[in-house]
């Protein structure tokens, strides 16, 4: 993980193709830019949650399973870093505060109240992007996000 404040790995003027070396996730609570994968355990938890919640809410996954996979990983990533699955499709001033507050923890209030999921994770059947499935396998997730 690389902290937001640290961009010395970009190198000097004009050198723009240097890739920073991978770093361990810092243990203190600075804002962290995700450059590593979420834990497999969290991905599995969020995958199961997504399947259950889609069934329960009568919503469907996106025709493009890549979208579903990325969001599930995003939820897993926040669960790892913040302790709660904060919506990955939003920009926040203070992620930790938001995760504590809960409005945007998945399933977020807009989803629970109005079935509105702008992450395109849970889609009502009338949505243009809605597929027919309420299941997604770990293999699907791995394959769709292999190049990330």
């Amino acid at each position: 993980m690389r902290s937001l404040q640290d961009s010395t790995s970009y190198g000097g003027v004009g050198i723009s193709s240097v890739a920073p070396p991978p770093r361990l996730r810092p243990r203190h609570s600075r804002v962290i830019v995700a450059e590593v994968e979420p834990s497999e355990k969290s991905v599995e938890i969020m995958r199961k949650f997504s399947e259950q919640y889609a069934r329960k809410s009568g919503t469907y996954f996106c025709v493009d399973k890549g979208v579903t996979s990325v969001v599930i990983k995003g939820l897993a990533d926040h669960k790892d870093s913040l302790g709660a699955p904060l919506c990955p499709c939003r920009h926040y001033d203070d992620k930790a505060a938001e995760a504590g507050q809960g409005f945007w923890n998945c399933p977020c209030v807009p989803m629970r109240e109005r079935k509105e999921c702008h992450c395109m994770l849970f889609l009502t059947p009338d949505n243009d992007f809605a597929g027919q499935e309420q299941t997604i396998s770990l293999e699907d997730i791995r394959e769709s996000t292999a190049n990330m």
């Binding site: 937001l4 961009s7 790995s9 970009y10 996106c62 969001v71 395109m120």
Partner: protein, 171 residues
């Protein structure tokens, strides 16, 4: 400090990718990067190895024309075309969905608009400045000022239509 930008040349599926630096303060009114610590004042634009995320993804090779800017504001100020900015995040599904769409639109409208992308997690101060909330958010800048703004994923045709109607009004 100098920043390298790769503007897409005439190339199918080419696109501009900008990762902008955040300034050390939340006030973005001063963006002269000479005043800020070096490691905070750099913008890098381009693809295929120029993005810090490129080591984890395979990008199509792009014929890049390199230019130098010292800030996102400077890019906006010196651009001769309107600029479409995509505010995104790594793990935002719809944002990733838009990546190939932006490639396509950028190539199709190369003479009319410049496409840049900003990772809101790397550059939160720029995202804060423009009050970005939902991702993806797209802002079309004309003459350096936000002109049109919309959220959410859309198809290439929808995006082209939206850009064209925004640009049409100018003339």
């Amino acid at each position: 400090m100098a920043i390298s930008i790769a503007a897409a040349a005439i190339q199918p599926l080419s696109w501009d990718n900008i990762t902008c630096s955040s300034t050390s303060s939340s006030k973005l009114s001063q963006l002269s990067c000479r005043q800020f610590p070096r490691h905070l004042g750099r913008i890098q634009i381009g693809s295929n190895g120029l993005s810090s995320r490129s080591r984890r993804r395979i990008l199509p090779p792009v014929e890049a024309k390199k230019q130098t800017f010292s800030s996102f504001d400077e890019l906006l100020a010196t651009s001769d075309k309107p600029v479409l900015v995509d505010f995104y995040a790594t793990w935002c599904g719809p944002c990733q969905f838009m990546a190939p769409v932006l490639n396509e639109v950028s190539a199709a409208m190369i003479d009319k608009i410049q496409v840049v992308k900003i990772d809101t997690e790397k550059y939160p101060s720029i995202a804060d400045k423009y009050k970005i909330e939902a991702l993806p958010t797209f802002i079309i800048f004309k003459d350096g000022e936000p002109y049109d703004r919309f959220e959410g994923a859309l198809t290439a045709n929808q995006l082209i239509e939206r850009i064209e109607s925004a640009l049409k009004v100018k003339q």
